[in-house]
Amino acid sequence: MNRPRGIAMPVEYSVKSELGQFSSAKVFRDRVVVATIQRELTGDTLLFSSGGDSWRLSQRVDGEYRPFSIIVKTTSPRSNSMSVAREILKIRDHLFFHNRKMYMLSNVPEGRMQHHIHKGPKYICRLDNFPFEDPSEVDSETRSRLRRFRGVPVGEISGIGHDGHRVWLENELLDIGLPLSASAFLLYTTASWKIRTN
């Protein structure tokens, strides 16, 4: 799989679901399955890594379901108990804070025309001067103007789920690469229920 454009990014994930399948998907890294995604009837999603780790992903963020928002917590694959859950990633309105830096999924990088986003990949950007340190604390005025913010591209996402949703990441996001890739798949391009063939 070759990246369509941009500078080389060292980490590549691909999330692929079966045609017409909505409830499960596989995550590949370097063409090797590294995790599976399983949607539950509750609406939450479980992510199981090949190494035995597991996470629960929920769109209920800060007390309610929100669009383009997801919270990832560790969980035990046996008990699914949330009592020992540890939050490792919170995305709210495309924004997430990681290692003291704010990032935005689906951002237009600085110096690019807006119409570049009408087709092709979307970007994960680092917002260096962003005035908030927690996505939950962002005020309503800033939230209403998020599309004006431009950042430094540190990731790239593209592709429909059933064809393979590809996520390229810089090293600074490597430690959350797997849950971030699964989140990008769930938030932006889940498998399609109905696939039309030409």
Partner: protein
């Protein structure tokens, strides 16, 4: 390229347009509609995603997936019912939303491998069909009237969307509007070539016909105070007064004759009708017009001035085209109509002959380090200033929230005198809520509507004393809009919100 999707839009990207050489001479609509055959073909391209990101991206949670499913079968009545449930201004938002700018079409998964579905064009077709060919039933109200009364201050998109939802909850709703007509920015600030007034008037009338009362020409805070309103007429107030306050500049010569606030200019042209403005123009534009700013209003002002004068119109923006906040589609349309652009320039001084503006001394700008938004900030290049001759200037450098009421009544304020609200849209005065541009500053029509609907839900919960039972509108529709529900045709069994 995927083998499973049909990648191309039916019509030319982004939509069929009228001939620029003809449209620049009148105020007829630029965007041209699809045919029934085209709209069905386009709707069939929808993948019917399990998680409909198009709905996630819509501030009013419009059922895009359900619309495409119904339209693809030729069932416009069902399509209308599905999208009208959460969006009372269908024809307006179909035309005014920049769908490719972080909204439904930008979210559409089809954009990964091809062109996103033309959601706005399909929506427009359904709305126009309902308006012109087949009037459909209005959304239902809750069976039980609550006996509660709500006053909404400001009849713009946020107020209208809130009014309809509060009415559906069973409350008696009155809109208090300062001007003679409802519609706010959609009525007074959006050109006819984007949004024909008959579309807006029809949708406002549909809301009024539900039973929403309207009192126009009323300025709350002047003739009647907020506390009087609360004690005498209503049980709760929602302020949706919009954005109005122009940004004040101190550029030398700013008071010269021939310099106009672009928003006031648009209001003058479109407030009553273009015909009446042409008969009695209030702005002397001349033949060389400069428009300062890079947002949608700057382009609306430039294209309106071009149509009125057929003269030379130039948009001057202090950053480059890459940083322009306006919709790139509008920039392209403006260029087609002969509007010119100058980037990396900013007025340093307005020069007059007598009191009348004759030219502008411009600073040449360059891009420096990124500011808080991540965009590189413009900085003056010393010794590179230049002059531009002009007869008039339209200033479109942003508007702040309409600050009249909060300053008059002593409501707690936030940035730029916006009304400060908590997460429940409550202001510092008990029983008073606020939403839309008066809280967030100037934003999109559909975002103001979304804010208005969310606030309306909070007002309802406050009045019924059920604030601890809050479930967000997004979650409500997240659950209700299940694919199974749609396929089983069970939506009709759903109660009003």
């Amino acid at each position: 390229m995927s083998t499973n999707v049909s990648p191309k839009r039916v019509g030319p990207f982004p939509f069929p347009k009228s001939d620029p050489s003809k449209r620049v001479k009148d105020f007829s609509e630029v965007q041209q509609p699809y045919t029934m055959e085209e709209v069905q073909d386009e709707a069939k391209r929808c993948l019917q995603c399990g998680t409909p990101v198009c709905i996630d991206a819509c501030p009013v949670q419009m059922d895009v997936r359900g619309m495409c499913e119904a339209v693809s079968r030729g069932d416009l009545s069902t399509a209308y019912k599905r999208i009208r449930d959460t969006n009372p201004l269908l024809g307006v938002t179909a035309r005014c939303c920049p769908q490719l700018q972080s909204l439904c079409e930008d979210a559409c998964v089809m954009r990964w491998d091809g062109d996103p579905i033309s959601i706005g064009m399909i929506q427009r077709f359904v709305a126009d069909w309902e308006q012109r060919e087949s009037k459909q039933p209005s959304p239902e109200q809750s069976k039980e009237q609550t006996g509660k009364r709500v006053g909404i201050i400001g009849g713009g998109p946020a107020g209208l969307a809130a009014a309809e939802l509060l009415w559906r909850y069973g409350h008696a709703v009155t809109i208090y509007e300062q001007f003679g007509n409802l519609g706010g920015t959609a009525q007074y600030g959006i050109p006819d070539f984007h949004l024909p007034k008959d579309v807006l008037s029809y949708e406002i009338q549909s809301i009024s016909e539900l039973g929403v009362a309207t009192r126009t020409g009323v300025i709350v805070g002047s003739g009647i105070s907020l506390s009087q309103l609360l004690s005498d007429e209503v049980d709760a107030v929602l302020i949706t007064a919009g954005s109005k306050d122009p940004v004040k500049l101190d550029t030398p010569g700013i008071d010269s004759q021939g310099i106009y606030d672009c928003y006031a200019f648009l209001e003058a042209v479109y407030g009553k009708s273009v015909v009446s403005y042409v008969a009695n123009p209030t702005c002397i534009l001349g033949e060389k017009i400069l428009v300062i700013g890079g947002g949608d209003s700057a382009l609306d002002g430039a294209r309106t001035a071009k149509r009125l004068t057929q003269g030379s119109v130039t948009v001057v923006y202090r950053r480059t085209e890459k940083e322009m906040p306006s919709d790139p589609i509008m920039v392209q349309e403006a260029r087609e109509e002969g509007v010119e652009f100058i980037f990396l320039a900013d007025p340093a001084e307005y020069v007059s002959s007598g009191k009348r503006l004759t030219k502008v001394r411009m600073n040449t700008m360059e891009l420096g380090p990124p500011d808080q938004t991540g965009r590189r900030s413009p900085q003056i290049v010393k010794g590179k200033d230049f002059f531009m001759d002009c007869d008039s200037v339209l200033l479109a450098v942003g508007r702040g929230p309409n600050s009249f009421l909060q300053l008059k009544e002593g409501l707690k304020t936030g940035r730029k005198n916006s009304i400060a609200v908590d997460d429940h849209f409550k202001t510092s005065m008990r029983g008073v809520f606020a939403a839309g541009d008066v809280v967030t500053g100037e934003t999109l029509v559909v975002k103001a509507m979304g804010s208005g609907r969310e606030a309306a839900q909070r007002v309802h919960e406050y009045l019924m004393n059920i604030e601890d039972q809050h479930i967000s509108l997004y979650e409500t529709y997240f659950v209700r809009r299940s694919y199974e529900m749609m396929q089983a045709d069970l939506e009709g069994a759903l109660p009003p919100p």
